[in-house]
């Protein structure tokens, strides 16, 4: 309780706030749909995360304490409270992908981009994280980049090809 200045914004702009308003409206301001609302909002925030000022904005709009919103954000792996990147690479680490050996996949991405799990490249372009099975077992090992699935990634070339679509 010591601040003497009104908080200023680093991420939240008028445009972004308007987008958030329409997302909340789309979900009828229903606080039981908070997770869905936050997921949608995360998609429109640069570097795909929910910073404190955005969480505070949502909390005020929906009349939920910030503490509660943060509890939800930090609980769900699909929501991030730290900046990620423009392109989120999600590596499946469920059973089928493990069997079809996703370690080659992991090592290749790590080598190509120089990042480990839950890290972003210095330019803020790519972020790597694990995710449970997303139903692409038939073409495993698989990844998702910003939600789009790429499968049969057994060779370095196939992985490069997938990544090359996100520059």
């Amino acid at each position: 309780m010591n601040s003497t200045e009104t908080k200023s914004f680093g991420v939240l702009t008028r445009d972004l706030a308007l987008k958030i308003d329409s997302i909340i409206e789309k979900h009828q301001s229903n606080s039981t749909k908070l997770i869905g609302i936050l997921l949608d909002i995360q998609d429109v925030v640069p570097r795909q995360y929910i910073p404190r000022e955005v969480a505070a904005y949502v909390s005020e709009k929906m009349n939920i304490p910030l503490s509660k919103t943060y509890d939800v954000i930090s609980f769900y792996a699909a929501l991030s409270d730290v900046p990620r990147a423009d392109y989120i690479i999600q590596l499946c680490d469920s059973v089928v992908c493990k069997v079809t050996d996703n370690t080659v996949l992991l090592n290749t991405i790590t080598n190509l981009l120089g990042i480990n799990e839950r890290e972003a490249t210095a330019d803020g372009k790519y972020w790597l994280e694990y995710t449970p099975c997303f139903g692409a077992c038939d073409i495993s090992p698989a990844i998702r980049i910003n939600g789009k699935v790429y499968g049969n990634l057994t060779t370095e070339d196939s992985i490069k090809a997938a990544l090359s679509q996100y520059k």
Binding site: M1, S3, T6, Y57, P65, L66, S67, K68, D71
Partner: protein, 583 residues
């Protein structure tokens, strides 16, 4: 009520239906280990250290969340139970920064007591405790997550009782944590520094910022004239630190102990509580008769001030402009007292003993200065005073009673009851009635504003003038009254708000284990003090009268305004979304 018969460790017990095993066991003097259980809080059942063996069930059951049934047979001390409890404690310790020797909670730490009971200490010495940086950037509290056992008691105090929501649980499984959102330090949240979290924490993970070293130094400094004031709520709680019965009145021993510690003069905050009534009472009369923002709300609780300045800054006009009794005392100590003693205000070191952690913050507010110096130099909580007395090796219980010094040693019963919820209201009504009507009050007690009900209200008839007043304690209750004001539906002329449940006797700096039962006993003690005093109305305090005659002039006069009133202001804590949208 349906009664249930059961056996705990082969002892017959009869308790009402709906009692937990843990509570039933207490009735027959069996103390089942527990950490997350707190008698005033909801069942959490997250620590599992309370497990017991229930006949007919293979799995051990948590005693704090299992309810008794007819014919139940419980064993609390079998090998299976003890091994499990020991194992759980060892797991907790593995992730605990065990440094009891310099921990403020040593001696009244629930984890330490259990480890002693099971004769265990930290076993694995790999120092990989996952913790946030120490949060010690505010003047009131220190949070050390390396000691947090994640019991969630502080979260309940902060969210359900205070409705501040500064603390929350977050993340999951091994990363499960208790901290403010986005792991901010308390100072950057809406935390009001009330310390209610520190009062319920079973361990040393949230504690008062210890300022005793500063005070020891000042006492030792020959150039400093060190004076101390003691708040009304301290004298009915300090005895807890010396194992006296709860609610013991220890005013005389407390003054004697302070004298032995080496304070040059020992004064009573009850005196400035009376003074507050003179100023605040007249402010109310002025607002009622000459027009001014109503309801007027009291301003003596700094946790409450932090709350309204942070979150409800659009309602600041409702606050009385009076400083709190602590700050009024501080201001007088660096002006009037300096004048009459001929001591340079710079050489006077003013200490207050308070039941409150937020008072530490209040004393450091930049505007709380008189004659160029800080009004109150150091604030110690009741707990810190208790530790100083222990540290000095003073046998508190055996001390001969001593008395407060003059000129700030006389307080009336009205000043004394400031320590209990409803007390400021009652004291103000006693004075307002007599000042407005010029008649003597038929009955001194305003029973309607007493007691532990969350919001109390009553209507007072002041010679035909109907005055509707309300009292709230605990910020959750205060919030309800603010919402009424916000919607224009507040029927009241005057509201008393205390941030802590029970008022100051339940302050965040009071001895640990201030449960609701204990608070009730302290409140009784406070009203006893009031009844036993020869003077029970602030305007009859002879020392206050003398102060006005010799120094201040009249209530709300020029000097009063300069010394005893302040300007409460927005803390700028909120994001300004409106401005953003208007860009």
């Amino acid at each position: 009520m349906n009664m249930v018969n059961l056996k705990i460790d082969n002892i017959n017990v009869t308790v009402p239906d709906g009692t937990t095993i843990l509570e039933a066991a207490k009735k027959v003097n069996v103390n089942i280990p527990h950490l997350c259980y707190h008698p005033d809080q909801a069942v959490k059942a997250n620590c599992r250290v309370c497990v017991v063996d229930v006949a007919g069930s293979k799995k051990l059951a948590p005693a704090c969340s299992s309810y008794v049934y007819e014919g139940m047979e419980v064993q609390t001390n079998t090998k299976k139970v003890r091994d499990m409890q020991k194992g759980i404690l060892e797991l907790i310790l593995a992730n605990h920064d065990q440094d009891c020797l310099k921990c403020l909670r040593s001696g009244n730490c629930e984890l330490q007591a259990l480890c002693q009971r099971f004769n265990i200490s930290k076993t694995n010495l790999d120092e990989t405790i996952e913790a946030l940086p120490l949060d010690n950037t505010n003047p009131s509290l220190v949070r050390d997550t390396a000691k947090c056992i994640k019991c969630d008691r502080c979260v309940e105090a902060c969210q359900k009782v205070q409705e501040v929501h500064a603390l929350t649980h977050s993340h999951r499984s091994v990363h499960y944590n208790v901290a403010p959102a986005y792991e901010m330090p308390l100072e950057q949240t809406f935390c009001v520094l009330c310390g209610q979290c520190s009062a319920v924490c079973p361990v040393g993970a949230i504690v008062e910022k210890d300022d005793t070293a500063m005070v020891w130094d000042a006492i030792q400094d020959p150039k400093k004239h060190v004076i101390v004031q003691v708040a009304p709520a301290v004298r009915v709680a300090l005895g807890d630190m010396f194992n006296l019965p709860k609610g013991s009145i220890v005013t005389g021993q407390m003054v004697a102990a302070l004298r032995r510690l080496g304070f040059d003069k020992i004064f009573d905050t009850n005196f400035t509580a009376d003074l507050t009534i003179m100023e605040e009472g007249n402010e109310l009369i002025q607002r009622l008769t000459k027009g001014g923002t109503l309801p007027m709300i009291t301003s003596c609780s700094p946790g409450w001030i932090n709350f309204i300045e942070g979150r409800y800054d659009h309602l600041l006009d409702h606050l009385s402009s009076c400083k709190s009794p602590q700050q009024m005392f501080g201001a007088l100590s660096k002006s009037y007292y300096a004048d009459i003693t001929g001591i340079d205000p710079k050489d006077i070191y003013t200490v207050s003993i308070m039941p409150c952690t937020a008072k530490k913050f209040e004393a450091k507010r930049p505007e709380m200065k008189t004659n160029g110096v800080q009004e109150v130099d150091a604030v110690l909580t009741t707990r810190e005073l208790g530790r100083m007395i222990q540290s000095a090796g003073i046998d508190f219980v055996g001390l001969e009673e001593d008395q407060f010094d003059n000129p700030f040693g006389i307080g009336t019963g009205a000043g004394a009851i400031f320590g209990a919820t409803g007390g400021v209201m009652e004291a103000a009504l006693r004075t307002a009635y007599e000042v407005i009507t010029g008649k003597e009050l038929p009955a001194l007690e305003f029973k309607g504003v007493r007691g532990l009900e969350g919001i109390k209200e009553c209507t007072v008839d002041i010679d035909g003038l109907e005055l509707k007043v309300a009292v709230a304690h605990g910020l959750g209750n205060a919030k309800k009254l603010l919402k009424q004001i916000d919607s224009g539906e507040s029927p009241y002329a005057f509201i008393e708000v205390m941030a802590c449940p029970g008022g100051c006797i339940g302050g965040g700096g009071q001895p640990i284990k201030s449960t609701m039962d204990v608070k009730a006993k302290r409140i009784d003690a406070i009203y006893h003090i009031d009844e036993d005093l020869p003077l029970r109305k602030s305007h009859e305090n002879p020392a206050v009268k003398e102060l006005y005659e010799k120094f201040l002039g009249a209530p709300l006069g020029h000097k009063s305004h300069e010394l005893l009133h302040t300007h409460y202001h927005s803390r700028g804590m909120k994001y300004n979304f409106k401005e953003l949208m208007n860009k």
